[in-house]
């Protein structure tokens, strides 16, 4: 039987974390064992207490590492426990668990990474603000120039990876704003990446990690990260 691990990074998600786990438990997939692991990234609210009270499966990081460090903890755990597939799933209930079987299916068809995308169909009514979409389009264009592959939802945190990538990410994963950066590394290594349509919801609680003045800094930093990743990553082929 195939073992799948859902990696749920959570930083101050006391209001949504239980809903996320409930949603996760509803997911059924034939011949697949789906586990989840919450990475409590040094939350300052009651996320940790809620995890203990409800006996959730969680890793409690002693201090805040940021999204990249938290997700990488999940990949390390998946690598040590020999999971076949790892799926990143946000702790703020933005992602719809109904698409997990689709992601697993596509990985089993031989893709190395499968990205749940808001933009490849009209399935997702929530498509983020116009400004943010504009930013994502620019990043998508830069990635197309750097790697020759067009990916639409480059910042999506809803993605599945196979065993080979779990090992790669367990050792090497960027600290902040990791999604576009890792995508370029994976493409440059000559691995197969597929985007499938998924539904995303608008976040109910908490704030996005990117807003206001940070967005300009985000664009500059991510653009640099993409270029550096494109130059420094060597192909496996």
């Amino acid at each position: 039987m195939q073992k799948v691990l859902m990696i749920i990074p959570a930083y101050n998600e006391e209001k949504s974390i239980l809903d996320v786990v409930k949603e996760m438990k509803k997911v059924k997939c034939d011949d697949v064992l789906i586990d989840y692991i919450i990475i409590n990234d040094g939350s300052r609210d009651k996320t940790r207490e809620i995890c203990i009270q409800n006996d959730l499966n969680f890793i409690d990081l002693p201090c805040n590492l940021g999204i990249g460090g938290a997700v990488q903890t999940g990949y390390k755990y998946a690598f040590y426990k020999e999971y076949d597939i790892a799926i990143q799933f946000d702790g703020d209930n933005q992602h719809d668990g109904a698409f997990i079987p689709h992601l697993i299916q596509e990985i089993n068809k031989g893709n190395d990474m499968v990205i749940g995308s808001r933009f490849v169909s009209d399935l997702s009514e929530f498509k983020s603000s116009a400004l943010r979409r504009f930013g994502i389009n620019i990043l998508s264009g830069i990635i197309k120039v750097c790697t020759g592959v067009k990916v639409y939802d480059v910042t999506s945190g809803y993605r599945a990876c196979n065993k080979k990538l779990i090992e790669y990410f367990a050792y090497k994963y960027p600290v902040d704003y990791p999604e576009p950066d890792t995508l370029v590394q994976v493409l440059k290594k000559g691995m197969k990446v597929l985007e499938i349509p998924v539904k995303m919801r608008e976040r109910k609680e908490g704030k996005s990690s990117i807003n206001g003045f940070k967005s300009a800094y985000y664009m500059i930093k991510v653009t640099l990260a993409i270029i550096i990743a494109a130059i420094s990553t060597r192909s496996d082929k």
Binding site: D60, P62, L65, G69, T73, K76, V175
Partner: protein, 117 residues
């Protein structure tokens, strides 16, 4: 260069050098990281005592006044040292991240172990 400025800078470098030594003996900094500061003091002192060397370098680099050359070189050396420190900092951060992750995973494993027994 004015003799008063030379004496002031030399006294400063000497006091700084002694302070570094004091910290090494008190084991507040490791020898590895103190060496670059030590080299900084020694080069400054050598330049300050040897007027001919100082004047040659001043002319060679195109400075009008020797004191400008001293300050400019000092500034460049500080840039190099602080960049080296940034490099150490980045490496440290990476190591701390790895340690934090492993501690988190170990804490979980420990809990599971106690749960089973």
């Amino acid at each position: 260069m004015n003799i008063k400025l030379i004496i002031f800078l030399m006294v400063f470098c000497l006091v700084f050098g002694i302070y570094i030594f004091y910290n090494i003996f008190k084991r507040r900094i490791t020898l590895q990281y103190s060496l670059m500061w030590f080299t900084y003091c020694i080069i400054m002192i050598i330049l300050l005592i040897s007027t001919p060397i100082m004047e040659n370098i001043t002319h060679f680099l195109g400075f009008e006044v020797t004191s400008n050359m001293i300050f400019c070189l000092g500034f460049i050396a500080l840039l190099v040292i602080s960049f080296t420190l940034t490099k150490f900092l980045s490496l440290q951060k990476e190591k701390i991240t790895t340690l934090t992750q492993e501690v988190g995973i170990l804490k979980k494993e420990l809990k599971n172990y106690h749960g089973k027994n």
